[in-house]
């Protein structure tokens, strides 16, 4: 059975890596600061007691007053998993996070999908183009204010 860490346990793990980078702790996830994300993710992948080598899923949610990135990470070695969230920027203006493609190649198409449908910019992504829709398409359809 995959062990899903509680928010407090994830908080402990991340505090060891990068103190004071956790913004808030929830029941089964944590919010981290966007500027520390790349450092935390690369340590989470390599550190002995973490080894989160599989990025299950990467997605974004439009909470109307802000955008949130959600990362589901699993370690196939220890068989445990965590959920990490990032609030992208302030309000709805130009949401932006760092790309994790350099850490997990599996984020490539998923980040392009999020950019296409939700309009979140990924810094340092090698090929940030629209995935499902064509380049001239106006707007980002999964946003809550699209055609409303």
């Amino acid at each position: 059975m995959t062990k899903c860490f509680s928010g407090e346990k994830i908080n402990e793990l991340i505090e060891e890596i990068d103190p004071k980078s956790v913004v808030s702790t929830n029941l089964d996830s944590v919010h981290i600061k966007p500027e520390n994300a790349i450092n935390i993710f690369s340590k989470l992948k390599d550190k002995e007691n973490c080894q989160f080598n599989l990025l299950n899923s990467l997605t974004a949610v439009d909470y109307i007053d802000h955008f949130e990135m959600v990362y589901h990470l699993t370690s196939t070695i220890h068989n445990h998993s965590i959920v990490v969230k990032i609030i992208c920027g302030e309000g709805r203006k130009e949401p932006k996070v760092s790309s994790v493609v350099s850490i997990w190649k599996g984020a490539d198409l998923q980040e392009r999908e999020v950019w296409d449908l939700m309009g979140i910019t990924f810094e340092n992504h090698p090929n940030l183009k629209r995935l499902m829709l064509w380049e001239e398409f106006p707007g980002h359809p999964l946003r809550k204010d699209y055609l409303r």
Binding site: M1, T2, N53, L54, L55, N56, S57, T59, V61, D62, V70, H72, T76, N79, V83, W104, K105, G106, A107, D108, L109, Q110, E113, L117, R130, L131, M132, L133, W134, P141, L142
Partner: protein
């Protein structure tokens, strides 16, 4: 003497029999060798995730059918498990066993289609494919008994399934379980050691363990590369913790391993089906107190399952209303395409389609 060759960029698809739907690639060749591949997807994009935000939780089940349309039952299962976790619903035991039977039948059907079309892409025109489709037809007939539909089943509901299996279903299932091992033997005799199949598939499209994991590739493709990662065993959902089955692993991670893994998994699914029949007991298929209009509390849930293509999960966010606030699909078909370019670089044109076929993608799920 060496001839100077000029790279040529060509468009493959979206309407092409080898692209399993509407997949398009921009391929650059140097002579017959592939130097660049860029997948262009989105020709079947229907905006299912946006549509889900406008429907009630039960209505979304019909949308999930149309994502991976050769494996509708596992799509239903993944979505329903996520809803049940979000709403805190405990399903009825008989309903759970029935949906496991449906899911394993669907796995056999999906693997049969995958292998049939892979061999079809190799040039064995339609004979092996029709053998596979003949077996799939029996499964579709059983689905028709279960829920009245063949492809777009919508059989599952929060709490179990919507209807108990009719009396004629069990003899049909038993007959299928008796016949299917021989049918798989037939296919193996015809193909597994066939010289042409071996030459065309062995050491073509090799994927290494580490590359696979790093690119989030899951399912039979990952196991063909030798990683023991099957969510039915590692993170059991439904009643898979009460079931015993073995997980075949590949060694090299080439096209032939991926073909073999699917054959082995069909046999394992038959074993699982037998155990399900032994364990199933009479009772309600769905708790009476679970309403059709589910209204989960605020929160989010993600329950990954082992679909025939790989890890399939629905990330649902609820705001306390009757429809999902956000419904994201972690589509294995899309993510398994991440390394397509790396797999085919340096191979010949004809190997491109074989490698693409061996990943087993479904365009309905890639584009959603």
């Amino acid at each position: 003497m060496s001839l100077r060759t000029e790279p040529v960029t060509m468009n493959v698809g979206p309407i092409h029999p080898s692209t399993h739907g509407v997949f398009r690639m921009r391929v650059t060749f140097d002579g017959e060798e592939i130097v660049d591949v860029e997948p262009v997807i989105g020709y079947l994009h229907r905006g299912s995730e946006k549509l889900a935000e406008e429907r009630t939780y039960t209505q979304v089940v019909t949308l999930t059918d149309r994502m991976d349309y050769v494996a509708s039952m596992t799509n239903n299962q993944s979505y329903i498990l996520s809803v049940e976790k979000l709403a805190g619903i405990t399903p009825s035991p008989r309903g759970v066993w029935l949906r496991m039977i449906a899911a394993e039948l669907q796995r056999i059907a999906s693997h049969a289609v995958a292998n049939g079309f892979l061999i079809n892409d190799l040039g064995a025109w339609h004979t092996p494919l029709l053998y596979m489709l003949r077996e799939r037809e029996k499964i579709l007939e059983m689905f028709e008994m279960l829920c009245g539909a063949r492809i777009t089943n919508s059989y599952l509901r929060p709490g179990g399934v919507f209807m108990d299996a009719p009396d004629q279903f069990w003899p049909a299932l038993n007959r299928f379980l008796d016949e299917m091992p021989n049918r798989i033997d037939d296919i193996e005799r015809l193909l597994t050691t066939n010289e042409i199949v071996l030459i065309r598939t062995q050491n073509v499209g090799v994927l290494k363990k580490e590359e696979c994991l790093n690119a989030s590739i899951t399912g039979p493709v990952l196991r063909a590369s030798g990683v023991d990662w099957d969510l039915r065993e590692k993170n059991p959902y439904d009643y898979y913790d009460q079931i015993e089955f073995s997980r075949p692993l590949g060694e090299i991670g080439d096209n032939h391993d991926r073909f073999l893994i699917r054959i082995f998994e069909m046999r394992e699914s038959l074993k699982i089906l037998r155990q399900c029949i032994e364990n199933i007991e009479p009772g309600p298929v769905r708790p009476k107190e679970v309403p059709f209009l589910v209204r989960p509390p605020k929160g989010d849930s993600y329950v990954p399952i082992e679909s025939p293509k790989g890890e399939l999960g629905f990330y649902l966010v609820s705001d306390g209303g009757i429809s999902p606030f956000r419904c994201h699909v972690r589509a294995p078909s899309l993510i398994n395409l991440t390394l397509l370019k790396e797999m085919v670089l340096g191979d010949k044109i004809a190997d491109l389609f074989v490698t693409f076929g061996s990943i087993d993608v479904n365009m309905g799920e890639v584009d959603r």
